[in-house]
Amino acid sequence: MLIAKTQSGHAAGSVRRAIRESLGDRIFIAGTYIFLTVVLIAVLYPLVYILSSSISSPAAVSSGKVWLWPVDLTLDGYKAVFRNDQVISGYANSLFYTVFGTLISVALTIMIAYPLSRKSFFGRSPLMIFVTFTMLFSGGLIPTYLVVKSLGMIDTRWALLIPNAIWVWQVIIARTFFQSTIPDELSEAAEIDGCSDMRFLFSVIVPLAKPIIAVLALMYAVGQWNAYFDALIYLKSQSIYPLQLILRSILILNNGTGSIDAAEMVKRQQLAELMKYSLIVVASLPVLVIYPFVQRYFVQGMLIGSVKG
């Protein structure tokens, strides 16, 4: 009823506007569309260019023939990428870090966010200050490094899973969600029924919290997949490097292929250049492919997070 009313209200409004729209307004609207189209092209063009380059012939890419659509289709770049052992092991490691890192992060986040959301929880506000203060002030890079070092985590997979496991922002998002969706009465009722806190958390809260778990998992997973800084400072052995660190050595430091064969030189250089484009596509694909499906969860997460509370 209410919906129908507002809809007809909108329709009437747009009819009236269509008649009354002044010249100034129409110019303004046209300007808005032009502006947005420019923005759209500016963001889209680099993405299309990378994709086109990655499937064009090496010679066409390095001679600047590619500017929008692919030239001389070939998959050489992708073949080179998948022949590279470093890339394969990096991919496997990143999958490992993403899966386990996300599991650990989500579990820890819920464990702290849930008590923080309960009004009945003793010591709630000191705990909240305890958590959010870490957003404002930190000991810094070196002191943190020394803690990780003293725990013997340097150069182990743990260094990527634990030291950065909880993001305070995610705690706030989860807490807000619990506060607004799970009434205090629910836990009181459970308590009267003789339900333990642990049991309550697992058999009542977790099923109710599916949407927020999805949001948290997605954000942590993307963060973990894209992270490189922790690996840069804590890891030394290449066998446990995540993909991003391998990418850095190939894409930015140019340590990928090494050959001094004079005749082959130019060709190889062109292929190395082409491989960069293919590598960019391969590395970003997992996230970009799932992105359209999960976009609404991200937006949802951001919105929950933006509610002040």
């Binding site: 747009s14 002044s22 100034g24 307004d25 303004f28 609207i29 808005t32 502006f35 947005l36 923005v39 759209l40 500016a42 963001v43 889209l44 680099p46 260019y49 890419v61 390095s62 600047g64 500017w67 820890l108 986040t109 464990m111 702290i112 008590p115 305890f130 870490t134 002030f137 930190s138 000991g139 810094g140 890079l141 070196i142 002191p143 943190t144 490094y145 020394l146 803690v147 990780v148 634990i162 496991a165 894209n226 490189y228 991003q244 660190l245 990418l247 850095r248 894409l251 930015i252 250049e273 960069k276 960019i280 996230v287 970009l288 992105y291 976009q295 937006v299 951001m302 919105l303 933006s306």
Partner: protein, 284 residues
């Protein structure tokens, strides 16, 4: 809830305690607490260091430049999107501008390098075709900041605009009708209804950005650095990394880092207080 609390104690509060390292002469064998006190020695060393001024200037310059550009653009984008009545066009723009946010820093930096390469980059190829000279963007210290800031805008504007769009959708529709009755033009409507509507969100985001001012993205900065642009690209956090971890000068690097954190905290408190006085919106 014991594990997460332990996490915060170990990985957040222990490092804060470890920051006393800045006042000690770190000795690997004696450990942090056994090392001798040296008072303000490392801070004096920092303040007398000729590189100190450059570091501060670079850090502040790039932060404020970044803030000045990346704060208003998402607002403008959201306001423009809000005017669009064609749902498909609106969705397309939103989806496309949102996508680069998911590209990792490493990939983003390599895209910047590939595009701006003086020899093979598409930007210079197009410029040459139009009759312009090639420019070495990443080798020119004066252009470096713009490359840093605008590549960041490219990556994050769609993502940042979401908050404002949400705020706009929460504006009371009766205000628009009142504006229409008063004969307001579209532009006047934006000025008098939309902008006040997103003010609270904007203030919060501004405070948070200022709170991050001294923490300008180490990751991206470090990856974009090269010997040619170092005169404008060396900032406090990259300096701490190099001095501390690469040269193992722990105490000095901790002092630099601590100095950075304190400035950051002070800035945040100041801006929050101003915001509370001026607009009644604040973080706490």
């Amino acid at each position: 809830m014991i594990p997460p609390v332990a996490y915060f104690v170990i990985f957040k509060y222990l490092p804060m305690a470890n920051a006393v390292l800045a006042f000690k002469n770190y000795n690997v064998i004696k450990g942090i607490w056994g090392s001798p006190w040296v008072g303000m020695k490392y801070f004096d060393l920092l303040f007398q260091n000729p590189a100190f001024k450059t570091l501060i200037v670079n850090t502040l310059y790039i932060s404020f430049y970044h803030l000045a550009v990346s704060f208003p653009i998402p607002i403008i984008l959201a306001l423009a999107l809000n005017e669009v009545k064609n749902v498909r066009f609106k969705k397309t723009v939103q989806m496309v501008t949102y996508a680069p946010y998911f590209i990792s820093t490493v990939v983003m930096v390599s895209i910047v390098m590939l595009f701006l390469s003086p020899r093979l980059g598409i930007v210079n190829t197009i410029a040459n075709a139009l009759g312009f000279e090639s420019v070495n963007y990443l080798g020119d210290p004066s252009l470096f900041r713009s490359v840093y800031v605008f590549s960041d805008v490219w990556q994050t504007m769609g993502y940042s605009a979401v908050i404002y769009l949400a705020a706009l959708s929460g504006v009371d529709p009766s205000l628009y009708e009142a504006a229409k009755v008063d004969g307001a033009s579209r532009f006047q409507k934006i000025l008098n209804v939309d902008i006040p509507g997103i003010m609270p969100a904007a203030v919060i985001i501004l405070i948070l950005s200022v709170g991050n001012i001294m923490a300008v993205g180490f990751e991206k900065m470090y990856l974009l650095q090269n010997p040619l642009n170092l005169s404008t690209s060396e900032i406090i956090s990259t300096y701490v990394y190099k001095i501390g971890l690469l040269n193992a000068n722990y105490s000095f690097a901790t002092a630099v880092g601590l100095f950075n954190s304190v400035i950051n905290l002070v800035l945040l408190l100041v801006v929050n207080t101003i915001a509370r006085r001026v607009s009644n919106t604040s973080l706490w």
